[in-house]
Symmetry: C2
Subunit: 343 residues, 2 copies
DNA sequence: CTGTTAGCGCGTTCAG
DNA sequence: CTGAACGCGCTAACAG
């Protein structure tokens, strides 16, 4: 029971017109009479014809899809980036082909190849953790395929990027803590080869300098990822003779471990120790004391990256060599963990 | 500065062979000599040629992508479904074209149209909240495009479905509460036209009957979605003369509102009132008391749905009329909110 | 083992 | 306002 695919030819035959007439009618071409258009639409509906966009793409040499490569889709941050991207690309008539690198370099390279072969109009990318070599991206650039990076970017490639303004907001965290009377601020951060952690640390150091606060290498802990690691790191932090009175944690996961350790030591948050997290997970408000945290705007990051992509897609011919770097400013959500009752 | 696209013709010319030889070599066709294959690969690399898969698709009448339509990508549940889908489809060589309906019926219909036009090999779908009419899906079925539904499904369409075993686990929730000595169990649930809530409610009623527990229409609250609504609903629940001693909330969002209301009334969880949530959000463990909740396995749902899709894609010709309904059993994660110190 | 030929379904000149 | 004819880039008969 083979079902024959109905093509534009079938529509044309049934109506006794040429295929070009049908094609034009479907695209609302101005030189086709209203009457013919109506007839065509009617026949299309009757035959339940759907245009083959693969054929159209081949003919036009253009595909209406944008490829997106992200490390993992099942993270709040990334899925919200996609959400933001889609909110911009959908109204513009583009489909999204979404690929995961799974933090794997080989897969990222493979994804790039597939997207190039699929003739996507452009590629939006957030790098995998493993990616150091970017030869595969140079290939994209060579082929003149518009490329926009977001969040996990490589600035050195000279492509448009959209990122969190991690440095600025981290400075702001320090200012906030200083305003609350904390003077000895430690940081527990993630691996420094990752773009975002590097910047959060930079903002911290920057903030300390600006406010002339004490800087102490023992108060700078890097490479922490899990709550458990953060718990241990915090304990170690308080084994020094000179102990901090506040901790800036560059993720909420880290903050959770820090809080557990601090409470176990019998110290009170926020009066003895101030704690600030990063990413404003759902639980920040719910835990006690509620956690001051940095809220990011992944939807805006995605939407901005998508807007740049659409611009790139429009100009295309005019090879203006402008390069954009967009910084999305996160906000500091102040809760109880960093607000002293009496300063 | 037009960059000329290099095609298979360019490769063939440079090598002095025919295009078919190149085509076959690239597909590792058995009748091509090893030597020619090596030569072709070399030339392909030199010219930086990438095959145009749009043209190949048109020729073959087959596209190696699967369309996925979900209500919203930025939910833990859905993004994990996608993760599960991708983990199965990627190794099989398929791309995912992901569309969001945004809980909007019109957009869902539009998405379906786009995917059909794109000639996707198959469509995987989780319905929008708004969707009641399923004419657009009948169109997919008519065109013999493999269709698999997951989570938010419509059983009446006769297509393969993968869902949570909501009924079973909800019964289990009731059994657990009964074991803890709760006898007057209320339910606060979402809109009943949504598949999952309908089933959770069914499981609840089923469980009560099975255990011969008191049934009371005043203890059945439907149509609740936000924490705020749950807060109010809980208050109302306790204005009756006959008040419950446990509440089964069919989402953690609802549970949060219920807990707030109960605590405000001065009742103690779990001794006065037991509370169970659904979905085991990250915060369930963190809040105090920690929340007993149902953990779902979205990755498994996605992976199973994807496996069915691949099967469908393989058989295709053999029109076996088998229909599958796969139930993924969630687990009950028992925390403090439902475990009485003294029964 | 390789070349020749035809055509997938559509959009777009160029003629009327 | 409409039709005829060509070709986008590739694969798959059919022939050698």
């Amino acid at each position: 029971m083979e079902k024959k695919k109905i093509t534009i030819v079938d529509v044309a035959k049934k109506l006794g017109v040429s295929t070009s007439t049908v094609s034009r009618a479907l695209q609302d071409h101005p030189t086709i009479s209203q009457n013919t258009k109506k007839l065509v639409r009617k026949t299309v509906a009757e035959l339940n014809y759907s245009p083959n966009s693969v054929a159209a793409s081949l003919r036009k040499g253009k595909v209406n899809s944008i490829g997106v490569i992200i490390p993992k889709i099942n993270s709040t941050f990334m899925s919200n980036c996609i959400y933001g991207i889609e909110s911009v690309t959908y109204p513009a008539g583009y489909n999204l082909i979404i690929c995961q690198s799974n933090e794997n370099f080989e897969k990222e390279v493979h994804n790039i190849r597939t997207l190039i072969d699929s003739q996507v109009s452009g590629i939006m990318l957030s790098l995998s953790n493993e990616t150091i070599d970017t030869e595969h991206l140079k290939n994209v650039i060579n082929k003149d395929i518009p490329l926009v990076m977001f969040d996990r970017v490589d600035e050195s490639l000279g492509v448009d990027c959209v990122v969190n303004d991690d440095i600025e907001i981290s400075k702001e965290v320090i200012v906030h803590l200083a305003n609350q009377g904390y003077k000895k601020i430690a940081i527990i951060s993630g691996p420094s080869h990752i773009y975002v952690y590097k910047n959060r640390l930079a903002g911290y150091i920057n903030g300390l300098s600006q406010l002339n606060l004490e800087k102490n290498d023992e108060w700078i802990v890097k490479g922490i990822q899990t709550t458990q690691e953060a718990f241990e790191a915090t304990n170690k932090l308080f084994q020094n003779s000179n102990t901090p009175d506040a901790i800036f944690c560059t993720s909420d996961t880290i903050a959770l471990g820090a809080i557990q350790a601090v409470e176990k030591m019998g110290l009170k948050i926020p009066n003895d120790i101030g704690v600030v997290g990063y990413s404003n997970d759902i639980f920040s408000e719910i835990i006690k004391p509620s956690l001051t945290s940095v809220e990011q705007f992944p939807k805006d990051i995605g939407a901005n990256a998508a807007r740049i992509m659409l611009d790139l897609l429009k100009q295309e011919d005019t090879l203006q060599q402008v390069r954009k770097m967009v910084f999305i400013k996160p906000s500091l959500i102040i809760h109880k963990s960093s607000v002293r009752n009496s300063k």
